[in-house]
Amino acid sequence: MSAGLKLLAPGLHTTVQDLGRPGYQAIGVPVSGALDGVSLRLANALVGNPPGTPALEVLISGPTFEVTADTVRMALAGAGASLAVGAEKARVGSGRSVTLPRGELVEIVAGRQSASCYFAVEGGINVPLVLGSASTYVRAALGGLDGRALRDGDFVPLAMVSASHRAELRLPAPMPATGDQPIRVVLGPQQENFTEEAIAVLLEAEFRISPSADRMGMRLDGPLLQHRRGWDIVSDAITTGAIQVLGSGQPILLLADHQTTGGYPKIATVVSADLPVVGRRRPGDPLRFVAVTVEAAEALCREAERGLIEMLTRLEPIPDHHGIDLGSLYDGNLISGVVSGLD
């Protein structure tokens, strides 16, 4: 019998995602992948997976499923998110792994702190790779489960039929709240197409994420940004995090599924270290921007990567209450790097 999760309710927009599909933008294929790559990597680490293993991305509201494998080790990463297990809906918080047996009902409760959370299972979601990635790109039906978001009755195939025998892991500290810190941007590539006032407004005003936000991008409600030289440019490439400004003056922050090219000028680009933060912001949340240099943005990227890797080395085994010999677990490869990182 194949291992999987049987969907009883799909959630608002639940898709299989990994770290994306780079290398094909020249032929019009967006990179896609997790909106919050940091949380995807944390969820995978908690179940012992390599960082880019295919997992579920849950947006706004989560799915409910039945475990249809002998045992499944799973973990959720996302501020304020939790698993509600069984009829009594026992809560398992995000930031730790848990292993559940066949027949268990699990609801992913996304909570109200973060727009996105990531659900990883040991061994990963077992879908075919398309152009090297399992990431779902709905618009061209690439990747994931038949190239679409999950639906009622779906069977999400898993790579492992039963969980390995080892301790569950948890983050050394709770998932940080998403906060409302300003999002850092590098101005450009087309800031010359805007008035000085428009740039000042971008960096001083508060915008609000429109309800129509999706994986392609988020429209930002707030003051309009005036173009200096007309709003249509000869199409050029778009990068994730670009803030393009429509003819009306409304900015759109482009996310993982954005088109690879476009003809609107881009006033600024969110630094890569802050893209996961943007991926956690919910429709209706405020957004403010602050400009940094590209050198500073590159340094922020390196610092964020070092911080994440350091956190991954400090995952802690959760003491088992059923008499498992922790000493033998400490000798195992799976957590050998963890012990030295404990305070």
Binding site: G28, V234, D236, V271
Partner: protein, 240 residues
């Protein structure tokens, strides 16, 4: 020619050659793209050629905009061939009315008969400037001046996959059903994008495309052959 280096965040550097749709600019873009691909600079993740610029995606864990900018500046003077591996394609298109909802209107606006529009559109060897908008969607040009029309005032919510379209100085083919604002003057039975193919997108920037008019019966038979994997779009290497 003034080349400008523009930052698009901390993971992409835009090398901008100009601000127009012209063959010379496109050749500059594709020449740098070829040089960059062959030089395999450390930290370059991928490159995206467009009408007028080459966007170089990089990994800031491995390189920096400053180092990359210097390395790219050193490649700009290379006289590499912008289309050394380009292919010339003959793409079958049915221009009959059931496949061409906007042909009559285009003919009216251009002051000619539908047959004359088809004759003009299929006489040109088009340059593939870039792919974008959707996987495999080619922006090709240049259209004969007499066919250059603005986009439709009311874009369609659903353009069928395979639609051959024109707008401004360009012609394109929709690989997928999607919204679209271009004038639909025909349809091709071939597939422009199939992820399982060794070369997922049929066309590449720098390729040449000429359209070959076919009738509705040929459209149906070619579509059948395509569906059963027994059709190859006529092609040959672009000479020199």
């Amino acid at each position: 020619m003034t080349v400008r280096f523009l930052s698009a965040g901390d993971r992409a550097l835009v090398v901008e050659f100009g601000n127009r749709i012209e063959r010379e600019l496109s050749d500059d873009v594709l020449r740098l793209d070829a040089s960059l691909r062959s030089s395999r600079l450390r930290g370059v993740v991928e490159t995206v050629p467009t009408f007028r610029s080459l966007t170089v995606h990089y990994d800031p864990m491995v390189t920096s905009r400053a180092d990359l900018g210097r390395a790219i500046a050193g490649l700009l003077d290379r006289r590499s061939d912008p289309r050394s591996d380009a292919t010339s394609w003959r793409v079958p298109v049915c221009y009959e009315s059931e496949f061409a909802p906007d042909l009559a209107e285009v003919a009216h606006l251009a002051g000619m008969t539908p047959g004359e529009v088809v004759g003009l559109h299929s006489a040109v060897r088009y340059h593939v400037y870039m792919l974008g908008f959707l996987p495999g969607f080619p922006y090709m040009g240049d259209l004969p001046d007499r066919l250059a029309l603005p986009r439709r005032a009311d874009p369609r919510l659903r353009v069928p996959a395979g639609s051959v379209s024109i707008a401004t100085t360009l012609t394109a083919i929709y690989p997928y059903e999607s919204p679209g604002g271009w004038h639909l003057i025909g349809a091709t039975p071939i597939r422009l994008f199939e992820p399982a193919r060794p070369r997922p997108a049929l066309l590449a920037p720098g390729d040449i495309v000429q359209f070959e008019p076919i009738n509705a019966a040929s459209f149906v038979s070619i579509r059948k052959a395509v569906d059963s994997g027994n059709y190859e779009v006529a092609n040959e290497p672009v000479a020199g």
